[in-house]
């Protein structure tokens, strides 16, 4: 598994000092990067170089570096999370790049996700959508035994497919309309497949949908780009289920 060394790569990255500042691209060259390094390790090496040169390092979001926390959020060479499939930026490795290549790194470009600094964005809008109904209203304690609610394996698996969403925002960043439908659908669909979610199904679909619209995300035009960009391969079939839930709720009004 000896990894090749990339003798030289050029990183063209979005620099913006604060939300109000005017941003621009800067290009930096780094040398001798092992293809066994992850993309973010390459960014660490770039930042180390910038700091030692007396420059401001690039601010980017990251945390678990194993593809599950959803914090990393880079738009690389025109793709959310870069050119590999079914991975987050932190799981992307340098073996997907060639020697001498220029790699363009941008923030998520979504109106509802303003830039904080460089390629770090504010995804509070996703929090607000979840707070508008992404829960089952049960308090701690006083709940029935776990096995009193049998759930078919198929339903449990489909709920899990949806629940695998990591809330990274790649769907909205990829969508030409900046729509958050796949993100919203993942939560609504998880609960739609489970008996626990039925009691509040109508209010949930309507209030989460309304919150998404209010926050300025675009409408869904079914191009399916979000599914391809999703690091967890969440299917747009969940959007169909969301629409059905929403329609059912509206018809009952």
């Amino acid at each position: 598994m000896a990894d090749k060394i990339l003798s030289k790569i050029h990183v063209k990255v979005w620099r913006q000092n604060n939300p109000k500042a005017k941003g621009k691209f800067e290009t930096y060259t780094i040398e001798n990067i092992s293809q066994g390094n992850s993309f973010l390790e390459m960014m660490d090496i770039l930042n180390d170089q910038l700091i030692r040169e007396g420059k401001d390092p690039v601010a980017f979001d990251h945390d678990c570096r194993e593809g599950i926390c959803g914090m990393c959020s880079l738009y690389i060479n025109g793709h959310a999370h870069g050119p590999d499939s079914q991975v987050t930026t932190c799981q992307l490795h340098m073996r997907k790049f060639n020697d001498g290549q220029t790699i363009t790194v941008e923030p998520w470009r979504v109106g509802a996700f303003p830039v904080i600094k460089d390629v770090m964005v504010d995804r509070t809008a996703f929090e607000k959508i979840q707070q508008a109904g992404g829960f089952v209203s049960v308090n701690t304690g006083g709940v029935p035994d776990g096995n009193t609610i049998p759930i078919s394996q198929i339903d449990a698996e489909e709920a899990m497919d949806a629940a695998a969403c990591i809330g990274c925002g790649a769907c909205a960043a990829t969508c030409k309309n900046s729509s958050a439908m796949l993100f919203l659908a993942a939560k609504v669909s998880q609960f739609a497949k489970l008996p626990q979610g039925q009691v509040e199904a109508k209010t949930r679909a309507k209030s989460m949908y309304a919150k998404m619209d209010e926050l300025g995300f675009g409408a869904c035009s079914n191009t399916g780009a979000c599914e391809l960009a999703c690091p967890k391969s969440i299917s747009i079939a969940h959007i169909a289920r969301l629409n059905r839930e929403y329609l059912k709720a509206k018809m009952a009004d």
Partner: protein
């Protein structure tokens, strides 16, 4: 030195928690509305505590350094959560979970806390199911279980290889409901920088807004630390990049004792280190040991050829493979506890049987399980883990065994707490991985999630009431008081100090160097000579840090390098305490292996006569030796014996 009182209730082990709940005080709903609680961290412990306290009517302020509470590192837990449900009819019980946890922890945890943990464990599963957590199900629709290391029953509940994610999203949904209802005020991208005490009691914090750089004061009637463990003191670990010890560390410096710092878990199945620029290690879940078989080559010449890349693992015949866990531990086989499995891998690699170019890896092989069960079944059980492995290593684990090696994963030690989870500072609590109480010297797999949620959902909401019932006459905390003023000025001075070193070297350099010292001298096996050497090296590193650190950027803006510098400064101090604790504990127990104390078979040899105590350290100044306080461990129910998994 003093002897600590852990406030364990009277009565038989199975009655202590019930007796205690009956005896402690309760706050009326009208008074709860007037009381404020700060919770630091939003992992399983923090999110479940914040949501549950708000449901009870307290005013909660919740803090996390990430952009969303959902990103806390509990999210990365893979394998599962234990509970004594006995759904499998395999003779599991509260007592058996209690016993397994005490034994797994090598008889260095507090009996009363562990029994309570086992008692509330079934409630956790019920709670999560009610929230809509999509646990794995059998065809009949009931909950499914699997087995984990160190036990002989199947009591682990799971959601594919993403159990931590699903449990955290459950707690996060409960938290979101309370944020929407106004019971919780959520502060994301805020880092706690100091604890504020008024008249000896915890009354608030100073936090830095990580977007604007502004320092802010927050008051409360009680403060709860749920900020996780300190594995990143080793730099390379399975923790998230941002996971840090600073919240616990400022509490230590303000009088909260720090217990058993050396009890650190080294997980046996992680993807081996590559090169020198690696930023973190990735765990491959312990659940894989249900179906994977661990082996190294029998012949040294095969190991040499593997290291040189002349042959691959599939070129080695079955009879030339040494399934060393099955050989050494026939009754538990591949499912021995983590400390035992880690040491066994190290033993094989040190003896020259390592299989990667650095000689620091063994195999975890699924060939046999695939032959027995088919690839589809294996894919269903572990598909996401196999995909993760392939993305990182570029090797397909369905075709070739995984390479694995031990890595730092979890810290059993942490802030000392009594039975109520209160630290040695009145009004300051520590829950989840941040405290020390339940796992002794080694944590069993799938028990971290259990403990985090037990503390947050079912223990703290009761015990904090006992303290807060005495605070009902205390008005809203005034953050303009002298105590807050002094604390904020101290924080300002400290940030200025880091900024003004203006040396040549970024914080990461010091962090990596610290990690190397820790791994080499304070790692999987250690001795007095190495530990003394480590203490000197860490002290020298601290001096170098304060003369050569370079923090770029601005104080009043997003500044990840400033955040790192503060955390690394704390890790350097913590690393020294860790080495001191390991030096003090001359016995071996669980994850703590002193070369001077081992059995003839190379297993950890305890010394119950001299070391059956919790070592709780009191801060006396950065350049002063800390004071050791002891909490004697009394085993009233379980007989102390040499642990055996043979």
């Amino acid at each position: 030195m003093s002897i600590l009182n852990s406030n364990i209730p009277e009565g038989a082990i199975a009655e202590k928690w019930s007796n205690h709940k009956a005896a402690i005080k309760v706050v009326s709903p009208a008074n709860k509305r007037k009381l404020e609680v700060i919770v630091i961290g939003t992992g399983l412990a923090g999110a479940s505590a914040a949501a549950s306290l708000a449901e009870l009517g307290y005013n909660v302020k919740s803090f996390c350094y990430q952009d969303s509470p959902r990103r806390a590192h509990s999210i990365a837990a893979q394998g599962g959560i234990n509970a004594a449900k006995n759904y499998q009819n395999d003779n599991d019980s509260v007592y058996r979970l209690f016993y397994d946890t005490i034994k797994g922890g090598d008889y260095r945890s507090r009996e009363a806390n562990v029994h309570r943990l086992a008692e509330v464990s079934p409630n956790i599963i019920d709670q999560c199911v009610a929230q809509g957590v999509p646990f794995a199900r059998e065809y009949g629709g009931l909950l499914s279980n699997r087995s984990f290391g160190g036990v002989l029953v199947s009591r682990t509940f799971y959601a594919r290889g993403q159990t931590g994610q699903q449990l955290l999203l459950g707690a996060y949904s409960a938290l979101n409901r309370q944020i929407a209802a106004g019971g919780v005020k959520m502060y994301t991208r805020h880092e706690m920088i100091d604890l504020v005490k008024v008249d000896g009691k915890a009354r608030g914090i100073i936090a830095r807004d990580m977007v604007t750089g502004e320092l802010k004061r927050f008051g409360a009637h009680a403060v709860v630390i749920a900020s996780g463990g300190y594995s990143n003191v080793f730099f390379l670990s399975t923790n998230a990049m941002g996971s840090n010890a600073s919240a616990s560390w400022v509490c230590y410096k303000k009088g909260a004792f720090f217990a058993n710092p050396w009890y650190v878990q080294i997980h046996p199945t992680c993807i081996p280190v590559h090169g020198s620029q690696q930023s973190k290690l990735t765990l491959m879940s312990e659940s894989l040991r249900n179906d994977g078989r661990v082996w190294a080559p029998k012949k040294l010449e095969d190991a040499e050829k593997l290291r040189a890349g002349i042959i691959g693992p599939n070129d080695i015949a079955d009879e030339d493979r040494d399934f060393y866990l099955e050989r050494r531990y026939p009754s538990y086989g591949n499912l021995v506890p983590r400390d035992v499995a880690s040491r066994a891998s190290k033993e094989r690699c040190d003896a020259g049987f390592g299989v990667n170019s650095e000689g620091k890896a063994v195999y975890l092989d699924f060939k046999y399980a695939i032959e027995r069960l088919g690839q589809d079944t294996i894919e269903k059980r572990y598909g996401n883990l196999f995909q993760m492995y392939e993305k990182i290593t570029d090797v397909d684990p369905y075709k070739e065994p995984m390479q694995i090696y031990p890595a730092i994963h979890y810290t059993m030690g942490g802030t000392w707490v009594d039975y109520n989870l209160m630290t040695s500072v009145p009004g300051l609590y520590a829950i989840g991985e941040a405290n020390f109480s339940d796992h002794g010297a080694n944590r069993l797999g799938a028990s971290a999630l259990m403990q985090g949620l037990a503390d947050g959902y079912f223990v703290l909401p009761y015990t904090i009431g006992d303290y807060l019932s005495g605070e009902i006459m205390v008005p809203k905390i005034d953050t303009k008081s002298d105590e807050f003023e002094v604390a904020e000025n101290g924080v300002k001075a400290r940030l200025d100090q880091l900024f003004n070193i203006k040396g040549k070297t970024p914080a990461d350099y010091f962090h990596k160097k610290l990690g190397q010292i820790m791994w080499d001298e304070v790692g999987m096996a250690r001795n007095a000579e190495g530990l003394n050497k480590a203490i000197k090296e860490i002290q020298a590193l601290r001096a170098e840090f304060y003369s050569d650190l370079l923090v770029p950027g601005e104080l009043m803006n997003v500044n990840p390098e400033l955040e790192k510098a503060g955390r690394v400064a704390d890790f350097i101090e913590l690393g020294e305490l860790l080495a001191r604790d390991a030096l003090n504990r001359k016995e071996s127990c669980g994850g703590h292996f002193r070369e001077e104390s081992s059995t003839e078979e190379g297993e950890a040899k305890r010394d119950d006569e001299n070391f059956a105590y919790v070592a709780a350290w009191e801060f006396k100044g950065v350049d002063q030796e800390p004071t050791l306080h002891k909490e004697e461990l009394h085993f009233e129910t379980i007989h102390l014996t040499q642990r055996s998994y043979k």
